[in-house]
C-alpha cells in the first residue's frame, strides 16, 4: 500500500516547522549577556587552575550555570535566567580566586622548605593530571 503525499501537505509541514522555529526563537529572545559571560567563564575556568585546585567550587559554579541554561531553554531571557547566570559567573570567579590562593600557598610552602625537597603527594597527583583534594 503506497501512501500518497501531496506537494501541498509537504509545503504545509515545512511552513509549520519554520513558523514554530521562528515563533520559538522570538519567545526565547536573545541570549542574555550574563549567560554568555558565564558560559565563557566555564570554558576558561575548566581549563585553568580551578579544575585542579578548586574542584568543588567549580562544580558548584557549573551546577548554577546548568540551572541558568535550563531556565533559558524553558523561558528564554527571563529575570530568573539572568539572576542564575550572574550567580554562576560570580561562582566561577570565586573558584578561580580560591585556586590562585591555593597556588600561592603551595608556592610559599615550597619556597619555605627549599630546594631538593621531594614532591608532596598532591604535587605528584597534579603532575599525573588528577586533581588534588578539593579546597573548601
Amino acid at each position: 500500500m503506497k501512501a500518497h503525499i501531496s506537494k501541498g501537505s509537504v509545503l504545509r509541514a515545512t511552513c509549520s516547522v519554520v513558523l514554530a522555529a521562528v515563533t520559538g526563537s522570538c519567545a526565547t529572545g536573545s541570549v542574555p549577556s550574563t549567560l554568555i559571560e558565564a558560559r565563557r567563564s566555564l570554558i576558561a575556568s575548566s581549563t585553568g587552575l580551578a579544575d585542579a585546585l578548586a574542584l568543588s567550587y567549580l562544580e558548584d559554579a557549573k551546577q548554577m550555570l546548568e540551572r541558568a541554561n535550563h531556565e533559558f531553554a524553558l523561558h528564554g531571557n527571563s529575570d530568573l535566567c539572568r539572576d542564575y547566570s550572574y550567580i554562576a559567573e560570580n561562582k566561577f570567579e570565586l573558584a578561580d580566586a580560591v585556586a590562585r590562593a591555593e597556588l600561592f600557598r603551595q608556592t610559599k610552602e615550597d619556597e619555605g622548605v627549599g630546594p631538593g625537597r621531594p614532591p608532596r603527594s598532591e604535587d605528584a597527583r597534579s603532575s599525573t593530571g588528577a586533581p588534588p583534594a578539593a579546597v573548601r
Partner: protein
C-alpha cells in the same frame, strides 16, 4: 451587618499578615549574609592594597562588597513589596560577598613580587 464588617476586617487583616509573612526574607539566609559581611570586614576586604585596584577606583573585593550591599538593600525593598524576586537578589548579594571574601583571601596569599598564573591560563599542556 456589624458582624459582617468585623469578619471582613478580620479576613483582610489575616490576608495582609499572610502576605507580609510570605514576603519577608528567610532568616537563615539573611543571617548568613550578615555573618559573611562581618567576616569580610574582619579580614580587611574593604581595605586591600593599591596594587589591587579595580575599574571603579577600589579593589575588586570592595567593588563586589558594594554590589552586595546594593543588592541586599534591593532585596529588602522587594520583599517589603511582596516581590518573590527578592530571594534571588539576596542570593546574588550572597554570591558577591562570597566572591569578595575569596578575592580578599587571594590578595592576602599573593606574593608581592611575582607574576603568577591568572588562574584562567591553561596549566595542562
Amino acid at each position: 451587618m456589624a458582624t459582617n464588617n468585623w469578619m471582613m476586617t478580620a479576613g483582610l487583616s489575616f490576608c495582609g499578615a499572610l502576605g507580609c509573612a510570605s514576603a519577608s526574607l528567610p532568616y537563615a539566609e539573611v543571617s548568613h549574609y550578615q555573618a559573611s559581611i562581618d567576616t569580610a570586614k574582619r579580614v580587611g576586604a574593604f581595605k586591600l592594597p593599591a596594587n589591587n585596584r579595580g575599574a571603579l577606583g577600589m579593589s575588586p573585593a570592595e567593588e563586589h562588597l558594594e554590589l552586595a550591599d546594593d543588592q541586599f538593600e534591593l532585596a529588602k525593598i522587594m520583599a517589603a513589596s511582596g516581590d518573590p524576586r527578592s530571594f534571588l537578589f539576596l542570593a546574588r548579594a550572597q554570591s558577591d560577598v562570597d566572591l569578595a571574601l575569596g578575592l580578599a583571601r587571594e590578595a592576602a596569599a599573593r606574593p608581592h613580587t611575582s607574576a603568577m598564573n591568572d588562574g584562567r591560563t591553561p596549566i595542562l599542556k
